[in-house]
């Protein structure tokens, strides 16, 4: 795997004392990384640092942000039940979306991998199609479907039900997010399926495992690394999603990202907005790293 590194070849994979090549051997590699690294510093690290600095500022409604070093903003976000609700809602939605994506995306990828070619490319395109349409357009699409006079309620009306309030609900946010995030789950699971030796399923069958047991004990565990990376992407993107909660959640059903937007552009309270943004980032990191650690450790040895 690390064959491009100039590190001395170690005969035993498990031995920890790998002899490293001298530092100057790595110089070409550093130089090759430099453009991307500079771009990363300029566009990610510097703005992030500026946001961090901003969180310590004081806000005065009359004169705007005032340079300071104090933790008032953190105290406000962390102690207010208003923000607790927003964060809980954000992560609740992200968790639900991830769960639904696993439940829908894994079988979808499995079925897809079993299809023969004309259909397989067709359905792969159908799954990837949402990525080709702007999130805003998709959000409006869902909005048209779900509003009080929308197609869904019209259909309910035909059988004498409703109309129900579907738009501006958590339900609307979740369903639209699942639609958007599904490709991010299907693709890594699909990749894991490509690596799976189809004969392992036959091997399990030959050992008298039922098809259901084979799926549960043999196929699913081999897909776990794919599901894991898919979940991380879906969770991270859902927790920080802005357009869909903004358009389908309305003004009252706020999530962290829309709350940040409102602080920055509505109340013009930049320090508070920056604090929420930073806390969202930290919370997201904690959740994802914990999840990664717990599951990944179990599978690195066997599945790499």
């Amino acid at each position: 795997m690390a064959s491009t590194l100039p590190a001395a070849d170690n005969p035993d994979m498990k031995s920890g004392n790998v002899r490293r090549a001298p530092w100057h051997a790595f110089l070409p590699l550093w130089l090759m990384c430099a453009p991307a690294f500079l771009l990363f510093v300029a566009l990610v690290l510097v703005p992030l640092l500026m946001t961090l600095v901003l969180t310590f500022y004081r806000f005065d409604p009359a004169s705007g942000p005032i340079a300071a070093f104090q933790f008032g903003n953190y105290a406000e976000v962390l102690s207010s039940s208003y923000y607790h609700t927003i964060f809980l809602r954000t992560f609740g939605i992200a968790f639900l979306v991830t769960l639904l994506c696993i439940v829908i995306g894994t079988p979808e990828a499995y079925v897809l991998s079993r299809m023969r070619d004309p259909y397989r490319s067709m359905f792969l395109l159908v799954i990837l199609a949402p990525l080709l349409v702007s999130v805003v357009v998709r959000a409006f699409g869902w909005s048209m479907l779900l509003n009080t006079n929308g197609l869904v309620n019209q259909a309910f009306g035909l059988v004498g039900l409703g109309p129900y309030k579907l738009e501006y609900t958590t339900f609307a946010i979740v369903i639209a997010l699942v639609h958007v995030m599904l490709p991010f789950m299907v693709i890594p699971v699909w990749t894991a399926l490509q690596k799976l030796d189809p004969q392992t399923e036959n091997a399990a069958l030959s050992l008298m495992a039922s098809p259901a047991t084979t799926l549960r004990r043999i196929v699913l565990p081999q897909l776990t690394p794919g599901i894991l990376s898919g979940s991380l992407m879906v969770f991270g993107l859902s927790a920080s999603a802005f357009a869909i909660p903004g358009l389908l959640g309305g003004r009252r059903l706020k999530v962290a990202a829309t709350a940040v937007y409102d602080e920055f552009l509505g109340s013009l309270n930049w320090p508070l907005g920056a604090t929420i943004a930073l806390l969202l980032l930290v919370a997201n990191l904690i959740v994802m790293l914990t999840y990664y650690r717990v599951l990944e450790r179990k599978y690195t040895r066997s599945l790499g």
Binding site: D197, Q199, N202, A203, S206, M208, A209, P221, S302
Partner: protein
């Protein structure tokens, strides 16, 4: 009735007959190899026995029971796959124990049987490793242990050695045979490697284009090939065209060409060839190791060495003679071999000549 029988087993994919009318009876404890070039239907035949491929026509019975349409997970056969198909997320011990677990065998007994199977393939020390931490040969042994731990009625091996390097393959062949003898499991192995099939099986089934061409012991298949295909697929062979000059019962005398110093050669006719008569064009075969090189004007046919190949224990000469190109195999006696371009005589015993087939008449 035999332990495992295939009667008129056929598999068609659309218009293509992958396997056609295969009839095979395997006795209990026997080691049978399905041998043939790729695409001859041997793997499809194995897959039908395993149940992964549905038969189009015909019957498969195991121990008196019809298993033709039984689901693969009900047959309980032990299978070693070409890719080994180990479960990558399970340790060696869990891989081997999976089949026992599916049979609801309790944990204590499972443990003992896993240990037993692993010690049979000499992998006791690696029970806690994962498949990706093993070498190719070790993975192969795990696959074998996983298949035999369930004490299957029949063990199916699908090209089990094809992913091993030559030296390891040879070792594994002997080991596989040893293990099979020890546990006495009826075994069917698919292979395209004729030397592997010859060295370890009780009987070989030679297949060509979806059909069985010969079922025999390795020795008989080598010594008495039934047609041109078998004679050339198993070992090396010199094919000689000739004309029948006399027939006496099952013995025929054949003229190998008009300008030869000595013309007559006798060969035994196999029982199936009753129609051969005087004047018929026939094909004969002689193995390279049954030809002898002698002094230039001795022997039956003079020849010139065109090239030679050193095989370690033997020298293989390619000669140009009036019989066409002839291969001769000589023991390496430790003396200087013949140089390329040397003139020699070629001799053989009449009994070494084999009748292969009667050719169509020309005109």
């Amino acid at each position: 009735m035999s332990f495992l029988t295939l009667s008129d087993v056929t598999k068609s994919f659309g218009d293509l007959q992958a396997v056609a009318d295969v009839n095979l009876s395997v006795e209990k404890g026997e080691f049978v190899s399905l041998l043939g070039p790729s695409g001859c239907g041997k793997t499809t035949t194995l897959q039908m026995i395993a149940g992964f491929v549905e038969t189009t026509h015909g019957r498969i019975t195991l121990d008196g029971h019809d298993i033709t349409h039984m689901k693969p997970n009900k047959r309980g056969l032990g299978i070693v796959f070409q890719s080994y198909a180990l479960f990558p997320h399970m340790s060696v011990a869990d891989n081997v124990g999976f089949g026992l677990e599916m049979r609801n065998i309790d944990k204590a007994e499972r443990k003992g049987r896993i240990r037993e199977a692993l010690s049979l393939v000499r992998l006791d020390a690696l029970a806690h490793r994962f498949p990706r931490e093993l070498s190719g040969g070790q993975r192969q042994r795990v696959a074998l242990a996983r298949a035999i731990v369930i004490a299957p009625p029949v063990l199916l091996l699908d090209e089990p050695m094809s992913n091993l390097d030559a030296k390891l393959r040879e070792d594994m062949q002997f080991e596989l045979r040893g293990i099979q003898r020890k546990i006495g499991t009826t075994t069917i192995m698919v292979t395209h490697d004729q030397s592997e099939a010859l060295s370890i099986s009780d009987r070989v089934v030679v297949m060509e284009a979806g059909r069985i061409t010969q079922i025999d012991t390795p020795y008989e298949a080598y010594e008495r090939p039934e047609n041109r295909f078998v004679s050339q697929f198993i070992g090396k062979a010199n094919m000689l065209p000739g004309t029948v000059v006399a027939r006496d019962g099952d013995a025929i005398r054949i003229d190998l060409g008009h300008d030869l110093a000595e013309t007559g050669h006798t060969a035994q006719l196999p029982a199936r060839e009753r129609v051969v008569g005087v004047g018929d064009a026939v094909t004969l075969c002689i193995r390279p190791e049954k030809l002898r090189l002698c002094a230039p004007n001795a022997g039956r046919v003079p020849a010139t060495v065109t090239s030679r190949f050193f095989l370690g224990s033997q020298w293989l000469y390619r000669l140009d003679s009036r019989l066409g190109e002839v291969l001769v195999c000589c023991q390496n006696e430790g003396t200087e071999p013949l140089p390329e371009g040397a003139t020699v005589g070629v001799d053989w015993n009449s009994e070494a000549i084999r009748f292969i087939q009667r050719d169509a008449h020309h005109g």
